[in-house]
């Protein structure tokens, strides 16, 4: 399953909820303000790094760029564009938005 998270983890707890509930092997895509979850050295970074053994983490490149953090993200988070988002939606049997 593909999970999308669009909230900053510093505003809402949807990323933590997603990480706590998603099945091992799931793909998690950070979009919109959710990309702040990929920020290196933040309060959230350890939780995200721990989760990377269980899930594949992606962040939407245009949203990282729009927020000026494209070069400040946690190693191993895969940066994709909208075409990559579409590919992920196809590769996974369901898309769950953590709104």
């Amino acid at each position: 399953m593909l999970h999308t998270v669009n909230k900053s983890p510093f505003e809402k707890n949807s990323l933590s909820s997603c990480l706590a509930h998603a099945k091992e092997g799931s793909a998690i895509l950070l979009i919109e303000d959710g990309v702040y979850g990929a920020l290196k050295g933040s309060k959230m970074a350890a939780e995200v790094q721990d989760a990377m053994g269980k899930f594949t983490l992606y962040a939407l490149g245009p949203d990282l760029k729009a927020r000026g953090i494209a070069d400040k993200i946690i190693d191993g988070v895969k940066v994709i564009d909208y075409a990559g988002f579409v590919d992920l939606a196809c590769e996974n049997d369901k898309v769950q938005s953590w709104l």
Partner: protein, 130 residues
């Protein structure tokens, strides 16, 4: 692959409609089909042709209309959400005794069943909202 997209937020107050548009455009560019885009809750505000953003800003409404015209998309607006927010086509305006309608080209007003049917007929339902 067939997609139905749900948009639950209005233009300019949230990124959801922008993300949904970019996703739809990318999917179409890859040769996928967008079976339907369903505008729900505040998302119905994407469907008023009276929207007039500054000239140097993107026109979210016109952009949806243009994409619909180019790819023959089915843009469906939830009727109950639309009535609450003053989005009407000619029939709805007449039925409710209003003096004008405001629906943008390419959009049509229908019921929630269209969202469910979209989910059934499509391979994926992708939701964009707050």
């Amino acid at each position: 692959m067939k997609f139905t997209i749900q948009v639950s937020e209005g233009p300019y107050n949230h990124q959801a409609s922008d993300t949904a548009y970019q996703f739809a455009k990318a999917a179409l560019a890859k040769g996928h089909e967008i079976y339907r885009v369903f505008f729900y809750h505040d998302g119905v505000n994407n469907a008023t042709r009276l929207t007039t953003p500054p000239q140097d800003d993107r026109n979210v409404v016109n952009r949806w209309s243009a994409l619909a015209a180019e790819h023959n998309l089915d843009l469906v607006v939830c009727v109950a959400a639309a009535q609450r927010r003053g989005i009407a086509d000619a029939d709805e305006a007449k039925r409710n005794g209003k003096d004008a309608d405001n629906i943008a080209p390419g959009f049509r007003i229908s019921g929630l069943g269209q969202l469910i049917e979209g989910g059934i007929q499509s391979d994926r339902l992708v939701v964009f909202g707050d």
